[in-house]
Symmetry: none
Subunit: 230 residues, 4 copies
Amino acid sequence: MSGPTKAELRKERIIDTARRIFAEKGVHAATVSEIAQEAKVSEGTIYEHFSNKENLLFHIPEHFTQRRQRIGVYHLKLIQGAANKLRAYAYIYTELFHENPDYATIVLLYLKGNANFRQTPGYQAIRNWFRFLTEIINEGIESGEFRPNVDAYIVRALIMGAIDQVTVNWLMSGKSTNLMETVDPIVDAVMEGILNPEVDEDAHWSNWRRTKARLRNKTIPAKEKKEQAG
Amino acid sequence: MSGPTKAELRKERIIDTARRIFAEKGVHAATVSEIAQEAKVSEGTIYEHFSNKENLLFHIPEHFTQRRQRIGVYHLKLIQGAANKLRAYAYIYTELFHENPDYATIVLLYLKGNANFRQTPGYQAIRNWFRFLTEIINEGIESGEFRPNVDAYIVRALIMGAIDQVTVNWLMSGKSTNLMETVDPIVDAVMEGILNPEVDEDAHWSNWRRTKARLRNKTIPAKEKKEQAG
Amino acid sequence: MSGPTKAELRKERIIDTARRIFAEKGVHAATVSEIAQEAKVSEGTIYEHFSNKENLLFHIPEHFTQRRQRIGVYHLKLIQGAANKLRAYAYIYTELFHENPDYATIVLLYLKGNANFRQTPGYQAIRNWFRFLTEIINEGIESGEFRPNVDAYIVRALIMGAIDQVTVNWLMSGKSTNLMETVDPIVDAVMEGILNPEVDEDAHWSNWRRTKARLRNKTIPAKEKKEQAG
Amino acid sequence: MSGPTKAELRKERIIDTARRIFAEKGVHAATVSEIAQEAKVSEGTIYEHFSNKENLLFHIPEHFTQRRQRIGVYHLKLIQGAANKLRAYAYIYTELFHENPDYATIVLLYLKGNANFRQTPGYQAIRNWFRFLTEIINEGIESGEFRPNVDAYIVRALIMGAIDQVTVNWLMSGKSTNLMETVDPIVDAVMEGILNPEVDEDAHWSNWRRTKARLRNKTIPAKEKKEQAG
DNA sequence: TATGAATGAGCATTCATTCAT
DNA sequence: TATGAATGAATGCTCATTCAT
């Protein structure tokens, strides 16, 4: 019946303020005293809730992770087909950054490369969300929707790497570009690749063609015919 | 005839030491005094060459950028075909990280997200190298090797985003995985995409299919027949 | 009922210590750390009370200014006659230096010539005290006690300039002379001047005499007769 | 025949530059490196001529002292009458400040209160110039031009203290006032004093009158009659 | 004699963290 | 439990001075 306690609200206010100030001035330049002032608590109170400044930083994703868990995973399960799910995942992943640029700044610029963060429960939660993408990709492979020789880890790196990349550019450019519009092209490119199927494969010398052939010989014998025909 | 001057060697030694220590302990935790000590120069000498600690950080990529310019661009021009060039680019890009993990740490964890760095000549040099990939992709589109509806910015984000991603994972995992082995799979995936062409496109509902159709209608009318036939 | 708070006492102790050390070793040679140590506070506490070292320096006169305001001005108002007041002022002014040589050192050697200090409230307070002397002089002119052609600014410069001068000499000589004994002679000289009235004014050529005559013609016609008679 | 050597010119250029920069930014804020740069010599050269930064500071008055010695003393000896000489001295003293505000700044704000400077030959030269004023005053007492009970030290403090005072005010006000115009009023005031001889001495109670009487009883018995008559 | 790169001691200032109230 | 004054370790940076060339 009773909502969040006073202390919980206070804690959330601290995290919200920290997120904003960390993102605005950088984690190093931001001071605990400034966060306390803006959150309208004393510095001591911050240390009641967080063991130190870095610990406060590590708690910032918490709220967003929970939100994604509640909303994201639920909706994705309703979508049929791995391709559709993958696209939806990319949207949800990007949208969280788009709607919360301060969160994006902190995750992409401060937490991704922080070894200590990788030991926290906060990172485990994010990891679970990443694994969910792996599951989607594997589901697509199993269903035959995706090529059988697809490596889920690689595809995940492509999707998330590209989104991280364009998000950082978006953040650094003062959010002047349209982030959400890049989601579809990224997913499209990953879906279909960039090679032009209209072009005769033998038209030009290419170690790529040979690499591809080699890969297919190993993993997709069914395609051999077409390959030979090409 | 005379090689680098004493002062130049000294400066290089400072940068080399800074790179190592920044990467080892993090930029913030590293102290100028420690770098001076390990580089066997006085603290004052560091400030003779660099205006401040951050400026020293910003000079770290210089050497690598020059090296890449000399070697990378030269060799890439000898390779025929955009696909081959793109693969080679990915190799060179990854190899620099692989051979110089400290450099990778600094570029990926400290410089990519630093707004001040983006104002330096050091970033401009890196930018030129990025643009080179864009040129390769556009070359492939013009030659017909790549789909005409390919977006160079997106492909670049996919390639570099994925490599950055796997490199950070590699660094954070203590370099326990094999970084170079991920290059080919990444390039392969970008080349061919992940959709299984053996599967009937109408087998499942997919807004992706519709998106693809829309894109093709606009840009590759010649393919329509095949599309309709498939 | 409650006296000064703990924090106020602490602040006063910092100022007292700073005054002593600044005077002893010079403002530049004195270190904040030394002041902290001697005042038995941490360096951080100094910066809780003063924005920086110079700001601490600027707060040193505060206490003395207040004391003078309370005591000096009050007593001076009870004295009758501008000449008496002027003498008393000179005594009070000198006595403060005499009783507080460290304060004298700081005011005369460090603050008088500091442009930044002139922007502080501390200087305004001192200024008010200076103005009080101007008022005394003007009062003497109005009452006829002082010559009507007296320039208050000049007289103030004479009195205070002479006292500052002898005080600096006193300080630099290791306080070996008797500072207070110079007050009366200074005031006496300003009162009566140095010219010997017994000597015939025409006894020697003097552009001074002409200057004097010119001044009197302008402002004290009543004296002309005597002048001519003399 | 041969003028100053190259080295002498160099040394003078260093002193001139130091004077300007010390005055502009303050001795502490000025750096040896900046002085070297502006004087177009190397830092090392400065240390060829001066043992350290303070020593350079102490050499700044040299040139002016010599100039004053050459011009000042020579001209003063041509003037007849102590009063005239005293006025001339005040003019010369003030004019040097007026014509060379940087020199004034350094002497009044940095050297007057520097104990180390008092050990240098530079200070001895200035001291000689001060003594010259004492001699003038004593000459006036002996000739009967000045009151016999005049204290030369006090008069010197009055004249020079007042001029120093107004010069510092002039410097701190950005030289917006007219410094030279204050010389005559200062000398006039010292000559004649500020008491109004027209006013009946008994018209008001005054410990000053009593002080004066006491002083006269001691030293100028000749005046007793006039005093009693008054 | 002149140079100016190199030195390194020295210091003001900051700020995460603590703890008495 | 909350406060915020007090702490003091930690460090980037300066600059007078030196000395190899």
